[in-house]
């Protein structure tokens, strides 16, 4: 009997980062690339406006996977993602996915982080260990 069944849907983490989230994430992470915090710079390089840090969105994917496995940070063993689009502050991000492998307490999720139809992170795989 596995902690989860293959094909089982998981997720439902929904977060709407506020306008100044990229500024706080820049401070917390040390990544001050101006495309995340300077609207004029972002527009000068062809972006609609400032965009979220990809690793912030990956942080949400990590949270969703960890929460699913009970919330203990030791549960998350591996996380691999591909960044496929840009994401904006003040728009809801939803992390969802399903179980693709289940072997006792060891479970692998396939996850997506999306803003509406825009899949910002896809092919995310997370290996977790249920307590």
């Amino acid at each position: 009997m596995s902690a989860k069944e293959k094909g089982e849907k998981i997720g439902g983490l929904k977060v709407t980062p506020d306008k100044f989230l990229p500024h706080r994430y820049a401070g917390a992470s040390g990544d001050f690339n101006p495309i995340h915090i300077d609207k004029e710079f972002a527009q000068m390089v062809g972006l609609p406006s400032t965009i979220l840090h990809g690793l912030y969105v990956m942080g949400l994917v990590a949270k969703a996977a960890t929460d699913e496995a009970g919330g203990d940070p030791r549960a998350l063993k591996r996380l691999s993602v591909q960044f496929r689009g840009m994401s904006m502050p003040e728009t809801e991000i939803e992390v969802s996915g399903e179980v693709i492998e289940a072997d006792g307490s060891d479970v692998t999720f396939d996850l997506i982080a999306a803003q509406g139809e825009n899949q910002v992170i896809r092919n995310a795989t997370a290996d977790v260990s249920y307590p």
Binding site: A62, K63, L79
Partner: protein
């Protein structure tokens, strides 16, 4: 500009980062993590940690100083203005605890062209003061507009 691959196999000197509890709290707050193990010493110890524990993705904080100089290394010669973060993988080992001294080494694993883009693959290995592996990471950066 043809893709320069001289840096493949190159390693950079270890970068050391001392983990502070307020930095852990700041990071956890931004991501929206509210488990007390990230904020409260007593709760963390009750959960079996040596002290306040860093969330797994805190790896971006203690490796930033190891990856930053690599991206600007003239031997790598990456066109930073045309670069995007393509992919990322982390494999975690021992938990990182407030007060830990984390040492990270970076190696350039591969540089290769594909579909008019340059792919730059770096690996970081982070160990704590006891020599335990805390995280191994693969960073893939993509630079648009190269000649093959």
């Amino acid at each position: 500009m043809a893709l320069k691959t001289d840096a493949v196999g190159k390693s950079w000197p270890a970068y050391e980062y001392e983990v502070g509890r307020e930095k852990i709290r700041e990071y956890a707050q931004v991501i929206g993590l509210d488990d007390p193990v990230y904020f409260d010493e007593k709760a963390a110890k009750e959960a079996g940690f040596r002290g306040i524990v860093a969330p797994p993705m805190f790896v971006v904080v203690y490796t930033a100083g190891a990856m930053g100089p690599v991206l600007f290394d003239p031997e790598v010669e990456m066109n930073f203005a045309a670069m995007v973060h393509g992919g990322q993988e982390f494999q975690w080992g021992e938990p990182v605890i407030s007060g830990d001294l984390i040492s990270t080494t970076t190696t350039c694993k591969d540089i290769y062209p594909k579909d008019g883009k340059g792919f730059y693959v770096f690996e970081t290995e982070s160990k704590n003061q006891n020599g335990d592996l805390v995280c191994k990471a693969t960073w893939t950066n993509i630079v648009r507009g190269i000649e093959e």
